[in-house]
Symmetry: C2
Subunit: 733 residues, 2 copies
């Protein structure tokens, strides 16, 4: 058992490590040669140019000789905090700003809880002599924890009241935060400039039709079912106000990037029916029209003509657009089963690898290494190091594995892929880090135990072990949290890779631009890590409040570091307007419920079982609170209110009456294959392409309209296709 002294020593070591990282960072960042590693965001925004290109002494291009800048080596911290939130939203997007708010939320929840715990619970715990008389070995940490209260004591009422207070406080903060984030999101969406995704709906599972191509089919369907009433041939606005402004189909086949004959190649792809996916981005003239189409069911058969908001163009995950409905169900089942086995049985293959990767087999495989291995020091090093290596490698690749799973499941935007991976990563950490540390043994053993245990025994088993693991988790917070965050700011890996690339590969300024790896927040790994801290904080708040200050230091420090990184380094690949907040909210709720159940289990072993009814009420209330929040705030993250859409449409019409929306939208959703082809060409080339795209929908629309008024057979035979039936009836009156 660690004493307070031990923890102090560990804290000192970790603080020193963190400090060393910060120092290294402070020195490295002001060297001009590292500028692109530590300030890539500004390069990407075009606000900073390479110091190497500027004039001046040769050496000072690479190394900073200005001694004054070394003195102010920590001044990045206040600088990081200075940029006000609205500016930060403009600079880095809402996703990043709301992501930072998760750290702030940690501070908001845990600072008052810690103050209350230290003024009320620590004295209550401390002024007992249970442990002294128990004859057990114990440490000072345990004297501050719930373990020091005698069995059946009335003092447990304090813990009960505190559990209620903490729950209410957490719920209050969560509700307020949800409210703020929802308002921020709505405000962000409302104040935003015109964006293509506001007008666009993604249509998937377009049913196959033997008579019409997908393009024609999509056009007919939406002409019939979403007639934009401002279009009227009577009034003569034809063409300019075509209903379906454009339906840019998406082509899979990989057009070769020959800049010479891009257009002919593209034409070929466009005309090849096999390369056309049954999915389309349909744009509308108004936000209202898009909002209506995205939120409603189009067809009788709910598995075809599936509409949803188009993700931001950058956010589209093109590979998954064409998965049929039935496959989605099957894929989800497969992934669910695979993830179950991954979580509970991942140790089995690792154990096999470990059993193979021993010194004997290495010696057998590489006999020439034997003399080196047989050295006693090296041998013991390898023996201590080897077993862990398979696990470390596995854990390193885990986020990638989870991301592959999510991709296989068929999500169609990067943001939803990351959110799904984050959920899975959290579950994995909950089972294997949280439960795995509390009840030693593999996840599978735990699972087996739980199945064979009675339902009310499970929280008891875990609850009892909770206080004993406090020191372990305090150390964990310092190593993983403090030193880990400090390591994040140093960016050792990108630094090394950048310099290697710079040395060996970079020839032009453009190459240097590509060698730069700003990275992203990494929601799929970062958020589950924060959530683990929320879980630890809530679980230990009542049991061992001494853990809370360590938590608070983590949240505060991480907030500053990530704010700095977001301002100077990360470059988000997409903007989902904080669509992840419901996930963050629900995971904190889960942590709260877990903490309540574990406290119940713990107290039931402490002769305070008369408190069980009161403790059972807590999760019920918490779930009820969650359902309320879900109903009240979640729609802001899922749907798009018509009032809002109408307001923006009206405003826009008032301000820019003659806006050419078509021109704005036509190039928004193009498969990267085509896009990169465009990028290679010059700007004028790009304009030509634009012209080409602009023509196409008009052409189709004209053909279509003529058909409407001439009963003569038109190009596609004039046969009565399913959608033609409806159309013909419409033209009757």
């Amino acid at each position: 058992m660690a004493t307070l002294n031990d923890i102090g020593v560990a804290a000192a070591i970790n603080i020193l490590t963190a400090f060393a990282f910060l120092l290294a960072f402070a020195i490295l960042r002001i060297q001009p040669v590292n500028d692109r590693v530590y300030f890539p965001k500004w390069y990407l925004k075009g606000l900073r140019s390479s110091p190497l290109a500027n004039g001046g002494a040769f050496a000072s291009k690479f190394v900073n000789f200005d001694w004054k800048s070394y003195i102010r080596f920590l001044n990045w911290m206040p600088a990081a905090l200075q940029m006000p939130e609205p500016e930060l939203i403009h600079h880095a997007g809402l996703d990043s700003v709301v992501y930072l708010r998760i750290y702030l939320l940690g501070l908001k929840i845990f600072v008052p809880i810690a103050i209350l715990a230290f003024t009320v619970m620590i004295p209550v715990n401390w002024t007992n002599n249970t442990l002294e008389h128990s004859g057990l070995t114990y440490s000072d940490v345990d004297k501050l924890s719930i373990s020091n209260i005698p069995i059946g004591s009335n003092r447990f009422w304090t813990h009960l009241v505190m559990a209620y207070t903490f729950t209410f406080w957490t719920c209050y903060v969560l509700k307020r935060e949800y409210e703020i984030v929802a308002a921020m999101r709505l405000h962000f969406l409302a104040s935003e400039q015109r964006r293509p995704d506001q007008f666009t709906v993604l249509v998937r599972n377009v049913p196959p039709d033997p008579h019409e191509s997908v393009t024609e089919l999509v056009q007919h369907f939406f002409l019939v079912n979403h007639p934009d009433h401002y279009l009227s041939h009577r009034t003569g606005f034809l063409g300019l106000w075509g209903n379906r402004v454009d339906a840019i189909d998406f082509y899979t086949s990989k057009a070769e990037r020959l800049s010479r004959d891009i257009s002919s190649e593209r034409e070929e792809v466009t005309n090849n029916p096999k390369s056309i996916m049954p999915a389309a981005f349909v744009s509308f003239k108004t936000r209202w029209g898009a909002a209506v189409c995205a939120q409603t069911q189009q067809s009788r058969n709910p598995t075809v003509w599936l509409t949803e908001w188009a993700p931001e163009p950058r956010d589209v995950y093109w590979e998954n657009l064409a998965i049929p409905f039935v496959y989605l169900t099957i894929r989800r089942l497969i992934v669910a089963v695979a993830f179950f086995f991954l979580t509970f049985f991942f140790v089995i293959p690792i154990a096999i690898v470990q059993s193979l990767a021993n010194i004997e087999s290495i010696e057998k495989a590489f006999p020439f290494l034997r003399p080196i291995i047989e050295v006693k020091f090296i041998k013991s090093l390898i023996q201590g190091f080897l077993p862990g290596i398979a696990l470390k490698i596995f854990l390193m690749f885990l986020p990638t594995i989870l991301m592959i799973m999510s991709k296989f499941e068929g999500f169609i935007s990067l943001s939803s892929l990351e959110r799904r991976s984050a959920s899975r990563y959290y579950i994995f950490q909950f089972v294997n880090v949280f439960l795995g540390s509390i009840i030693t043994g593999t996840a599978f053993q735990q699972l087996n135990n739980f199945i064979h245990q009675s339902t009310n025994q499970i929280p008891r088993t875990i609850g009892v072990s909770i206080p004993m693991k406090a020191t372990f988790f305090i150390t964990f917070i310092m190593v993983d949290g403090w030193a880990g965050v400090a390591g994040e700011i140093l960016r050792l890996k990108p630094l090394i890779i950048y310099h290697l690339k710079n040395f060996f590969l970079v020839k032009t300024e453009k190459d240097r631009e590509e060698a730069m790896d700003p990275g992203t927040i990494g929601f799929n790994t970062g958020e589950p890590q924060i959530q683990l801290y929320f879980l630890l904080g809530l679980v230990y708040a009542v049991v061992t409040p001494i853990l809370l200050p360590f938590m608070i230091v983590f949240f505060g420090f991480a907030y500053v570091v990530y704010r700095h990184q977001i301002i100077n380094v990360y470059n988000q690949e997409y903007e989902s307007a904080a669509a992840f907040w419901p996930d963050v909210h629900v995971r904190i709720i889960v942590a709260l419920i877990v903490s309540q159940l574990l406290l119940m289990g713990l107290l039931s072993t402490k002769g305070a079982s008369q408190s069980t009814p009161l403790l059972i009420t807590l999760p019920v209330l918490t779930i009820c609170f969650h359902r309320f929040c879900k109903g009240r705030y979640e729609p802001a993250f899922v749907r798009y209110p018509l009032q809002e859409a109408m307001m923006k449409d009206t405003l826009e019409r008032a301000k820019e009456a003659n806006l050419n929306l078509k021109g704005f939208l036509q190039n928004a959703y193009i498969h990267p294959v085509f896009k990169s082809a465009d990028d290679n060409g010059s700007d004028s080339d790009n304009d030509i392409t634009t012209g080409e795209w602009e023509q196409e929908p008009t052409l189709v629309a004209t053909k279509r309209t003529s058909k409407r008024f001439t009963p003569l057979p038109s190009k596609d035979g004039g046969s009565l296709l399913p959608s033609d039936e409806v159309k013909d009836e419409r033209s009757k009156p």
Copy 2:
């Protein structure tokens, strides 16, 4: 333990009872005096007039002397089956027809299962001697069940294969049935005549506004956010094509039914702002417009301006229209807790009542009864009878209690109230009848046991008891199923009540009309009963297949009886177009999963635990199947596809170009208080009211439009109200 002989005797008794009921029914139904009890549906349809009013001998008006009709006393059965399904839909509505399909579904699932079970499993079970050598008492029924297989036998593979076969068959039938019912629903909705609810959306939680009345607010909101584009003041269609055709507000205060001054009274209510609820029925010009509004979110704040499809006018539960969003969450919590206690602790108050209601306390309360009670025979009768009485009374009132709970929860249509009550009733029966019979003891004791048992022990505990209870459930099916259904057709209670009323109260023909009680299907009690049979059938299909024929007889007999009742007796209060089918489907899925888990528990005690992984796969696959069905078919029961709406709108416009939709809609949604006032008046009176209602929206619309074009302050002060802001911006271009 009952032998096959015992069951035969019980079957004979129950068949005789059922036969006696049928005979009594056959005789009673052809007596003219009972005509209104057994054929009320035809009276309500106006297709049958009272035999008492016709000419003929006095006595023959009351008693049937035609001896020939007594010979054909069972001919109602083929008659009930003769009416073809489309005609039945027209006669009794889709709800009733689909309800009958539940019984048919039982036959479709269990007849093939029974055939397979009798050809394969009965021989496999029978040809063992386990029970003979076990020294236990056993019966012939047990010899036919899984109990007769020796522990660890390879014959369990038969049961495993059968479990798979039965699951796949059930899923196949379920999927096909879901498909058919969904198609029937869509066809019904599509082929239906114009109905007010197709054009109407219910708006709830209209936010309070200090400057505008609810009516004005609703009108402004929908004028701005759902501008119907065919309306244009420019074109001069004003009034005729007013966007918001009508928003009939709903007034709570109970207008006294004085036919003299109805209109003045109504005016008073209309003008009293306190009696106006923040809810409105908003009608649209097209089905498309209504479909869009019902399926989308209107406002930023998802707790106000809640829109949903208006229920059928008959189906509206007016009392719940005005419950605010926050209260709904709280009410749901309260009901959930109350239902939990009702299910698991209902025995406690009943036990208390029972302990009070003993002979001693009766003697104390009513000393004059003592001489009678002290007679030995009467005493023992009371002692045997009394304890059960409280329970019987409770069970009689249970559906009512559950219905009150559902009403308290805030559902806004009778159909959803019945669906919710049915779910609760099923859960109650599952816990207290199914589990309660298998594991003797109260539900609370079971709950307590389950909490203290390990998770994998629970299916084992129940599974082991399953085969032992087969004979009990066979008897249950005969008493509750066979004799119960035969009792249903006799309608003893309505018969007695009708004759009592007829004798004491009835003065006019109208009174007689009111004395008639056709009743309804009673979805909230009937469906859970059928579900209990599905559960029993699926659970025993593998374990004791001898139970299946009894089940099949029930389903067949009940089908005929209920078909007869639906044709001749029941009068549905509403038509939900089979909206209950997803509930039916999911409960059968639950029964399937329960049967799989129990089989797993049973086999694990039989030394066949190597089959566990194979058996665990079954529920996983079943859940996956359910999710597929939910995605594929449920939307047909929840949403209304735009394609469909557009098609109907187009057709209608083509056929009836000059339809006065406003006239059609204006009287559809009126609170029953007003409606009954109308009924009292003559037809011309009704017309006057119509005119009155017709005027109102036009008036408001005019005021509104003038405001839009004149910047002068209009009637309500011209101050910038929230919705005015938007409006003003719209009028800029």
